[in-house]
C-alpha cells in the first residue's frame, strides 16, 4: 500500500477509536438525560470525579486495576446517595429545577475538588500491562492502551444495549420513562428502578473518567470539556436511544477526525453543523422516539 492510503486508514482508525471513547463518556448521559429525562449538567463533574478517584486510588495503591476495583463501587454508591438525597425530588418538577440543581452541583464539585485535591494538574500512569506501542509505520506507533480502551468501550456498549433492550429491568426503565404512574401501579418499585439507573449513569460517567485518566491528565475543569460534546452525542443519536448514541458518537468521531485534518480552520464548528443537519433531517435525532412513534 502507498503511504497516503496507509495514513488514510490510520485516520479511520483514529476516528473509530475516538468515536468509541466518546460513546463511553456519553453513555452515562444517555441513561440519565436520554432515558430518565433529567437535564444533567453535572455529567462532566461525574466524569471528573472518576478521573480524580482513579488518580487518588492509583496513587495510594500503586495499581491502576486496583484503583478501578475501588473506584467503581464508590461511584455507584455515590450515585445512589445523590439520587436519594437530591434528584428524586425533581422528577415531577419543571426542567428548570434540574438545570439549577445540576449547575449548582458543578460548582460544588469544582470547589470540593479544589479543597480536597488542590488545583494542580495530575497524571495517572498507564498500567504496565498496556504500556507499549504497536508500530504502524516507520515513524508512527499506536498506543496499546488506546486499543484496549476501544475494546472496553465496545463491551460496555453491548452490555448497555442488552440491559436496556433485553432485560426485565430494561423494560421497566423504558416503561417508566414514558409513564411513571402506570409502571408504579403495575407493582414495580419505580423509585428503586430509577435510583439504580441513576447510579449506573453516574458510574458510567465516572468509569469513563477513570479510563481516560491515563491518556489525558487529571485537572480542574476537565469535566466541562466533555459535557457539551456528550449532549451533542445524545441529541444526534436521538434522546433515549442507546443505538442512536452509539451511531452519533461514531459520526462525531469521523467528522472531528477528518475535520481536524482536512478543514482545520472550521473543525471546531463541524460537529455542530453535523448536529444541525441531523436535526433538520430528523428533528428527534437518528433514533429518536418521536420519529418512530
Amino acid at each position: 500500500m502507498s503511504d497516503p492510503v496507509i495514513f488514510f486508514l490510520i485516520q479511520v482508525l483514529n476516528a473509530v477509536q475516538y468515536g468509541l471513547l466518546l460513546f463511553l463518556v456519553a453513555s452515562g448521559l444517555t441513561l440519565i438525560f436520554g432515558i430518565m429525562g433529567i437535564i444533567n449538567l453535572a455529567h462532566g463533574s461525574f466524569y471528573m470525579l472518576g478521573a480524580y478517584l482513579a488518580f487518588v486510588c492509583a496513587d495510594a495503591t500503586g495499581s491502576f486495576w486496583l484503583a478501578l476495583v475501588i473506584a467503581v463501587p464508590l461511584s455507584f454508591g455515590f450515585g445512589l446517595l445523590l439520587e436519594t438525597l437530591l434528584f428524586r425530588f425533581l422528577y415531577a418538577r419543571d426542567h428548570l429545577y434540574q438545570v439549577l440543581l445540576t449547575y449548582g452541583l458543578i460548582l460544588v464539585f469544582e470547589e470540593g475538588r479544589g479543597l480536597l485535591v488542590g488545583n494542580d494538574v495530575h497524571g495517572v500512569p498507564v498500567p504496565a500491562l498496556l504500556n507499549s506501542s504497536i508500530p504502524l509505520t516507520a515513524t508512527l506507533s499506536y498506543p496499546a492502551y488506546r486499543l484496549a480502551l476501544s475494546a472496553i468501550c465496545l463491551v460496555v456498549a453491548g452490555l448497555l444495549y442488552l440491559l436496556i433492550q433485553k432485560t426485565r429491568l430494561g423494560m421497566a426503565i423504558r416503561a417508566g420513562s414514558v409513564n411513571r404512574e402506570m409502571v408504579q401501579s403495575l407493582g414495580i418499585d419505580i423509585g428503586m428502578v430509577y435510583r439504580v439507573v441513576f447510579a449506573i449513569g453516574v458510574t458510567l460517567a465516572a468509569f469513563a473518567g477513570m479510563l481516560a485518566a491515563p491518556t489525558t491528565s487529571v485537572f480542574p475543569g476537565m469535566g466541562n470539556q466533555v459535557l457539551i460534546v456528550c449532549f451533542v452525542t445524545v441529541v444526534i443519536g436521538g434522546i433515549g436511544s442507546i443505538k442512536g448514541a452509539f451511531l452519533g458518537a461514531m459520526l462525531i468521531g469521523l467528522v472531528d477526525t477528518f475535520g481536524a485534518v482536512y478543514a482545520p480552520q472550521i473543525s471546531g464548528m463541524l460537529v455542530y453543523m453535523l448536529m444541525a443537519a441531523v436535526l433538520i433531517w430528523r428533528p428527534a435525532g437518528l433514533f429518536g422516539r418521536a420519529a418512530t412513534r
Binding site: 488545583n119 497524571g123 508512527l140 489525558t216 491528565s217
Partner: protein, 396 residues
C-alpha cells in the same frame, strides 16, 4: 484617540499642579497619609488558580521585604477573582477601576481577560501592570503610556526557540497549537526565529480550544515527517499532548520543542513523556544567580511552596511598584513621574536583570532549558536581551 489625549491632558494638569509649589502642599499632605490602593485582578479559582496565587503571594512578598509600604505609604489591597473568564473581564476590571477606584491595577494570567483590562484602562487612564498574560497587543498595537508588563510577550520565547531550531540546522517544521490568539502569536514568533536560519513552516496544525483529541494531528505529523515540531499548549492540554506524542513513538524520529509553558507546572503529571524536552523561557531551574537563590529561599519560607516563573513575575511586579513609588515618594497622583520612573527602572529579578522597552515590555534574556526529572534545567542562553518588536505600537 480621544481617550489618549484626555490621559495626557490629565497628566499635564497634575504636573502643572505639582509645579505650583505652595498651592499643592495640602493636597500632597492628604496624599501622604492616605493609603495607596492596589487592585489585584487575578485568577484565584479555576485552571489558573495556582498561577494567580503564586503571583499574588510573591508580589506581597516583594512589598513586605520593603517594610510593607510603598514610598512610605501604607497599602490597601482590593482583590477580584477574574476566574480566567474573558466575557467577565471588563466588568471585573471596572469593579476595581470605577468601583474601588484603585491607583494601580495589576493583572492578569489569561490573555483574553488581559485584553479586556487593557481596554478598560485605555478609557480610564488607570495604571496597569500585567504580571503574566503574553498577548502581543498589550505592548504592541494597543500599547499606552499607562500600560506595563513584567512578564513576556508571546512572541519572545517563541522567537528564541525558532533561533535555537535554526541553529540546529533544521529546515522543515510543523507547528501545532490551539486555534486561538496566543497559539497563533506563538507560532508566528517561532516562524520568524526559524526563518533566520532559512527554516520554513511546512504546515500549521490547529485544533479548537480546549480540545485535546490530538491523534489525527499526530498521524498528520507522522505523514509529513518534518525536522522538528513546535507545540504551544499549556496546563492539562500540554500534559495530554506530551503523553500522546510520546505514546505515538514520535519522540524517536521527530524532535519536539516549544515555549516554556509546555513543561512548566506540568512535569509531575507528564512524567516520563516530558523527559529531555527542550523549551525556551525567561526563567529556568538551576540559574546560578545569587538573587534567584535568595528569592527562592524567601518564597519558600513565606509560602512553604517552591517558586516558579509565575512567582518570579509576581515578585518583579512588586519590585517595579517599589522602584516606581520610591522614586515619586509615594505620590501616586504624579502619574507621569511614576511612568518615567518605571521606564527607567532596572529590575534586579531572580531571572536576571531586565529593563523595560519603549513599549513597556521586558527586554530580557531567554534561556534554553531541558527537562531533567522534575526540573526545567538551565542549558544556555538562547537569545540575550531579547526585545519584543512591539509591532503597531505608536510609542516606539
Amino acid at each position: 484617540m480621544i481617550h489618549r489625549r484626555t490621559i495626557l491632558q490629565g497628566m499635564a494638569a497634575s504636573a502643572g499642579l505639582a509645579a505650583a509649589g505652595g498651592f499643592v502642599a495640602p493636597r500632597v499632605a492628604i496624599g501622604q497619609t492616605a493609603k495607596i490602593k492596589l487592585g489585584l485582578m487575578l485568577p484565584y479559582t479555576g485552571t489558573y488558580a495556582a498561577l494567580g496565587r503564586n503571583i499574588d503571594e510573591a508580589l506581597r512578598l516583594a512589598i513586605a521585604q520593603q517594610g510593607g509600604k510603598l514610598g512610605g505609604r501604607e497599602i490597601d489591597y482590593a482583590v477580584v477573582d477574574d476566574q480566567s473568564d474573558p466575557p467577565k473581564g471588563a466588568e471585573n476590571a471596572n469593579k476595581l477601576v470605577s468601583g474601588a477606584k484603585v491607583d494601580i491595577l495589576i493583572g492578569t494570567v489569561h490573555s483574553g481577560v488581559a485584553a479586556a483590562m487593557v481596554k478598560v484602562v485605555h478609557d480610564s487612564g488607570t495604571l496597569l501592570i500585567i504580571p503574566n498574560a503574553g498577548l502581543e497587543a498589550a505592548t504592541g498595537a494597543l500599547c499606552a503610556p499607562n500600560i506595563f508588563r513584567t512578564s513576556f510577550s508571546n512572541w519572545q520565547p517563541a522567537y528564541a526557540m525558532g533561533k535555537v531550531a535554526a541553529g540546529r540546522g533544521w529546515k522543515r517544521a510543523v507547528v501545532i497549537s490551539w486555534n486561538y490568539a496566543a497559539g497563533k502569536e506563538s507560532n508566528g514568533g517561532f516562524a520568524e526565529g526559524f526563518a533566520t536560519g532559512g527554516g520554513k513552516i511546512e504546515k500549521e496544525l490547529y485544533l479548537p480550544f480546549p480540545q485535546v483529541e490530538f491523534q489525527p494531528l499526530l498521524t498528520e505529523i507522522a505523514a509529513l515527517k518534518p525536522d522538528v515540531v513546535y507545540a504551544f499548549f499549556a496546563g492539562g492540554g500540554a500534559v495530554k499532548f506530551l503523553k500522546d506524542y510520546a505514546a505515538a513513538d514520535l519522540r524517536k524520529s521527530i524532535p519536539l520543542v516549544g515555549p516554556g509553558f509546555l513543561t512548566d507546572g506540568t512535569l509531575q503529571a507528564a512524567g516520563e513523556a516530558a523527559q529531555g524536552l527542550e523549551t525556551t523561557l525567561h526563567y529556568a531551574d538551576g540559574l546560578d544567580l545569587p538573587r534567584d537563590k535568595e528569592f527562592r529561599a524567601a518564597f519558600k519560607q513565606a509560602t512553604k511552596r517552591e517558586a516558579d516563573v509565575y512567582a518570579v513575575q509576581g515578585y518583579d511586579t512588586g519590585q517595579l511598584l517599589v522602584a516606581g513609588l520610591n522614586a515619586v515618594k509615594g505620590n501616586v497622583g504624579a502619574k507621569n513621574d511614576l511612568i518615567a520612573a518605571w521606564e527607567q527602572a532596572e529590575i534586579d529579578s531572580p531571572r536576571g536583570k531586565f529593563t523595560l522597552s519603549k513599549a513597556h515590555n521586558p527586554i530580557q534574556d531567554f534561556y534554553l532549558r531541558k527537562v531533567v526529572g522534575a526540573e526545567n534545567r538551565y542549558v544556555s542562553v538562547a537569545v540575550k536581551a531579547l526585545a519584543d518588536p512591539a509591532r503597531g505600537c505608536k510609542m516606539v
